[in-house]
Symmetry: C2
Subunit: 309 residues, 2 copies
């Protein structure tokens, strides 16, 4: 095997689960992951990168598996004290987790790029995979709702996805540049896997960074996407509400349709098998398997499918 470089496009929890499986069947240093940073938020003066942290903590084996985010065994003493200071504490910041934000914020203020900072964090946590933020530039996903426009994290965490979504706005999307590392990871991969992540605010944001979609169209790599939709709905997160809010059909086909211009293969769940032929009308090969990832065996099995189809 000459070139076995695998590059993944990833959001948070769903992608992290898939990557756990992938890291069991591919040498870790052959894996690059391009991660959404549209959810990044500055809180209390700290730069927080939720999806980067979920991916990093998961691959480092320190994630709180029950929650899917944060560090296992973490405490929330600092957050309690921030509350005493009258500060907003709807965003859960664990004490150990905080070290990541403090470290990242300091390095950014010293002039390191988010890509460099992420690389340092991964190195210190012993990761062999290459984790790449989609851009080093500001990029903020804003959700337009019946309660007004808000940061994605405010919609998701502070308001528990309750407001009705009427639109999504991507602040900074016109100016955000992809990094050379991201473009190389796309152009030099033998296979690209679009993880089962939110097609609007996770994969959608990555695709909006200038040059990334074009690179996906140009690369010689085979591109495989895994549907985040199972039985016509999502396992977790706001994808369904966001898709509906944008007037999109919530279905496996609908996700494949968003990726059709660069996609070779679409993996959809057995519960959506009636969508197979419809996906294939998009000019995309469709593979039907069980995609729900509960155990590590599920994750490994799905990774093997994504690598072999």
């Amino acid at each position: 095997m000459v070139n076995q470089k695998i590059t993944c496009l990833a959001g948070g929890v769903g992608a992290a689960k898939f990557l756990q499986g992938l890291a069991k069947v591919v040498p870790e240093n052959d894996i690059s992951v391009i991660v959404n940073t549209g959810d990044d938020i500055e809180l209390h003066g700290l730069h927080i990168s939720p999806d980067l942290d979920i991916i990093t903590y998961t691959l480092a084996g320190i994630v709180d598996e029950e929650k899917g985010w944060g560090i296992k065994g973490d405490t929330f003493q600092c957050l309690g004290m921030l509350k005493n200071y009258g500060l907003e504490t709807w965003f859960n910041l664990g004490d150990k987790d905080l070290a990541t934000h403090v470290y990242r914020t300091r390095l950014l203020s010293e002039g390191f790029t988010l890509t460099e900072v992420t690389s340092k964090i991964c190195q210190q946590l012993g990761l062999l995979e290459t984790i790449l933020p989609m851009t080093n530039d500001p990029f903020e996903t804003r959700i337009i709702t019946d309660k007004g426009e808000m940061h994605f994290q405010e919609y998701m965490v502070k308001h528990s996805m309750q407001p009705s979504v009427t639109g999504v706005r991507f602040e900074g999307a016109e100016k955000a540049q992809p990094t050379p590392e991201v473009l190389n990871a796309i152009l030099e991969a033998s296979r690209i896997i679009v993880c089962p992540s939110n097609p609007i605010v996770s994969i959608g944001t990555i695709l909006l960074v200038k040059g990334i979609r074009e690179a996906l169209r140009r690369t010689g790599a085979k591109i495989v996407a895994i549907s985040p939709i199972i039985a016509g709905t999502v396992v977790k997160g706001p994808a369904e509400k966001l898709m509906r809010g944008l007037g999109l059909e919530v279905s496996a086909w609908s996700v494949a349709n968003l990726y059709k211009d660069f996609l070779d293969v679409f993996i959809l769940d057995a519960m959506d098998k009636e969508q197979k032929s419809r996906v294939e009308t998009l000019g995309v090969r469709a593979v039907v398997v069980d995609t729900l990832m509960k155990t590590i065996d599920d994750k490994v099995r799905l990774a093997k499918v994504a690598l072999s189809c």
Copy 2:
């Protein structure tokens, strides 16, 4: 009683103990405390003000009484994670404590002065006393030792006061301005109490801020100092090593001598009573009492002496 405004000059632990007693015998909102900021340090991108925090936490009733600093019941999870990131962790940062530094750093970066930030922190912690940093400007106490020059906290915490002191340098002292609040607190007090703090790096730094020593000479307030020396040595901290390093005699008289140009009364410990007449040759009235503060009763008793002499 028309004017009962009491203004104190304070370092960290020794001053905090005294202030606990004072707050029991004087209405809290009649107390102003001018606090040393020469020990302030930036670590991990966070602005840490050790003496301000010790005073604030103590008066708020949340200090870890055993240590004399930090917040009681605090944990050190974030610090452990910072260590995983390969960062220096010799400075003990508790998880709750961290909230103060995060909050302070954010407010400073937004353009608030250290005086304004301190006022907000005190308000949120329910303090009625007015806590005033000696200056809003950079002021850094550097200790010159046989192991090189270092920040005061490095000498004190990282190197546990082991290097031999050959000098002290106060970076920023020429430029640091006193705040209007500090000058008013000196000029409008009825009584000023110099707490039993380090005469070089706690009280000494306050006196070095331009205009403060002059205001102490000019004020109509009676000025009383409490000796930090008991039985020819210090209860805690590096005062003895620093005084020796600077070629100063370590004695109650020696401390009184540093303050003689503005001092009315010097309270010295009964174990140093042989120094009484020597102190009085400085033109300062000397009062001999037990000054060791172990219990709250000791603190109240000493406060009463400082208020009545």
